[in-house]
């Protein structure tokens, strides 16, 4: 700190200097006049000293000057004698001035030193105050710090308690999960990154077929020698590395050679890999049985199909043979009878001719029967050749052919029939049979009347009918009408082989339709068949 020095030029010091010198002058002039001239400065010395000590340099100099003035000017007035008489007096005065000036200077220096000390003291004090302030602020900071620390401790304690609670809850929850895992029906195992068993539940014990105590802590490869070469080992390794869950069905071979099927879900977990296993051995066994059964079944179906194909072939050869070879002898019988009757030298009487007629007609009948049967069997085997059919044209053709070979007094009533889709040659057989029957069975009534028409039961089917007013039939036997060789009339009454309606039924069924009939003995009959407007795919390809 810089200290500023000020000279003591206070007016009080100058007043004191004046008063003190006045007192010293008066004291020297009156009571001490007797002391003589030589000791003229005796009162002035202490006075100037006193003033210089208290007033400093300027007060001392003033007092010195006043003292000199008094001695020079006042003294002669009162003693009537000059103060300066000789050289000694001058010397005395010079000593006096010198001494007083020195004293003043010294006093000034002392005063200044005192002032300096005082300033240093005040500086010291202010530093001290600052120090004290700092100390107190430190103390405050310390207090604050302590408060913080306390608070922190409290928080830590609180947190510790919370953590402890949380830990308790967590351990309870872990226990719960663990007991859940322990009791799961699925096998649960955890393998570490080094492939050591970390955890095995009870179900996995059963799947492993050995207790967990044998496995835990041991390496997977060591426990199942040869496992490195299996797919499941690869999957576990890849799951460990890639951290991607995988699922698989695995057939496991146990050390004793027995096998088991397991459904495995292999998932990455922080400890390594978690293996969830399900024993699917029974399911696999059933699947295996099923597969074997299926194979056997397929084989059987194949065998049966082959057998059927063979039978079908045989049947075809049979009908082929029948159609050729059975007809040949009949043709010969008939042909040679004809030749016999034609030759002029046959020598036959009427009886003989009649017998030949009978033989001939019987052979023709048999020929017809063979043809009908072959037709019937052919309709069963043949695939449908589906075409658009002009039904009106077809029916007209059939009627014309029939009229040629029968009596012509029939009243025909034919509706305008809709076009249908089906096999033309087979449907022609249907109409030939139905219309032929109508002609045949109404031949004996007075005014035979045959009606051909149709209705449409719904959008999907046409229903055609052929109605006559002929012999009719007993509805009790209507179910027998469409059977093979089933006849409701004897051959004496009406000719027939009993195959026609069976053929009709078979053809209509192949087209996806149905046949039925209504009738009454002596009043006539109506034969119906239905046929899909749009043929069903199954029937086209059959």
């Amino acid at each position: 700190m810089e200290v500023k020095y000020k000279l003591n030029n206070n007016w009080k010091n100058y007043l004191i200097a004046f008063l003190v010198i006045a007192f010293a002058a008066s004291l020297r002039i009156w009571p001490l006049q007797s002391l003589g001239l030589r000791t003229v400065w005796v009162t002035f010395y202490p006075s100037v000293m006193l003033v210089a000590v208290f007033g400093g340099l300027y007060a001392g100099l003033l007092a010195t000057a006043l003292s000199c003035s008094t001695a020079l000017f006042l003294w002669p007035l009162f003693v009537n004698k000059p103060f300066i008489n000789d050289f000694g007096d001058y010397l005395g005065m010079s000593v006096f001035i010198f001494t007083c000036v020195m004293m003043s200077v010294v006093s000034e220096l002392i005063l200044r030193a005192r002032q300096k000390i005082k300033q240093a003291n005040s500086l010291l004090e202010s530093v001290n105050r600052d120090l004290e302030l700092e100390v107190s602020s430190r103390r405050n900071a310390e207090n604050e710090l302590k408060a913080h620390k306390d608070k922190l401790e409290e928080t830590v304690n609180e947190r510790t308690i919370q953590l402890k609670n949380a830990n308790e809850i967590l351990s309870k929850s872990e226990e719960r999960f663990r007991s859940t895992l322990d009791c799961m029906l699925e096998g649960c195992q955890i393998l570490g990154f080094d492939l050591r068993y970390i955890y095995i539940n009870d179900a996995a014990d059963i799947h492993n077929r050995r207790p967990k105590e044998q496995l835990l802590g041991n390496r997977y490869e060591d426990m199942w020698p040869g496992i490195e070469k299996t797919h499941v080992y690869e999957v576990i390794k890849s799951c460990l590395e890639s951290r991607i869950a995988q699922q698989m069905e695995n057939e496991f071979t146990f050390p004793n050679g027995s096998r088991g099927w397991f459904e495995l879900s292999i998932q990455p977990v922080p400890e390594g890999v978690f293996i969830l296993s399900n024993d699917i051995t029974p399911r696999k066994m059933i699947e295996n049985d099923l597969r074997n059964l299926n194979i056997e079944l397929e084989k059987r179906v194949f065998d049966r199909t082959a057998q059927l194909a063979e039978i079908n072939n045989e049947l075809e050869s049979f009908t082929y043979s029948v159609s050729h070879d059975l007809r040949a002898p009949l043709r010969h019988i008939n042909g040679f009878i004809d030749l016999l009757l034609r030759s002029n030298d046959n020598n036959l009487n009427d009886k003989g001719k009649r017998y030949l007629d009978i033989i001939s007609s019987s052979s023709k009948q048999m020929g017809q029967l063979i043809d009908d049967l072959l037709n019937f069997s052919r309709t069963g085997r043949a695939s449908l050749q589906i075409r658009d059919i002009d039904t009106n044209k077809l029916v007209t053709q059939v009627i014309n052919n029939l009229i040629d070979s029968s009596s012509g007094n029939i009243t025909w009533s034919v509706s305008d029939l809709p076009d249908i889709i089906g096999d033309p040659s087979l449907l022609e057989i249907v109409f030939i049979n139905l219309i032929g029957n109508a002609v045949k069975y109404s031949a004996r009534v007075k005014n035979p009347c045959i009606e051909i028409g149709f209705t449409r039961n719904d959008i999907s089917q046409f229903i055609f009918f052929v109605k006559d007013n002929g012999a009719g039939f007993d509805m009790n036997y209507s179910d027998k009408l469409f059977g093979v060789f089933q006849r409701l009339h004897s051959s004496d009454e009406y000719e027939g082989t009993g195959v026609g309606l069976a053929t009709v039924r078979r053809i209509i069924q192949k087209h996806g339709g149905e046949t039925w009939a209504e009738g009454e003995v002596g009043k006539g009959a109506v034969f119906f068949f239905s046929i899909p407007v749009v043929p069903e795919t199954a029937f086209i390809t059959s």
Binding site: Y320, D325, A328, R331, N334, F336, L339, S363, L374
Partner: protein, 144 residues
Amino acid sequence: MKNIKKILYVEDNPRDRELTLSALEEFNLVNEIICVQDGEEALNYLFKKGKYAGLENDSIGAILLDIKMPKIDGIEVLRRIKSDDKLKLIPVVMLTSSREERDLVESYSLGVNAYVVKPVDFMEFINAIKSVGLFWAILNETPE
């Protein structure tokens, strides 16, 4: 008589043969009818092999062919005829006991000229023979 062509009749059954020939007599044919027993013989005749080797100057105007025969059947004979450049011009009539669809389809696909089902009734048979226009085929010259 050199221009009148012969008819080749292939039939294994002697009774059928007799009946057919009797029927053909009805038409008072001037054509010579050559009867052979089966398909093998028919082919030998047509291709001049076996016992017919060296046969000369033989012109066939029509062939009547039974289908069901031992050894080589009528369908096979038809196939051979129709695959030979010369013979395929001769009209062939199939005579058969049956309407078996597969025979019919096969015959027509091979290019048969007519197909007659031998009826049980003799008169019907004569009519059938007439109906296929056999006379036309025989009396008219086939292109050489």
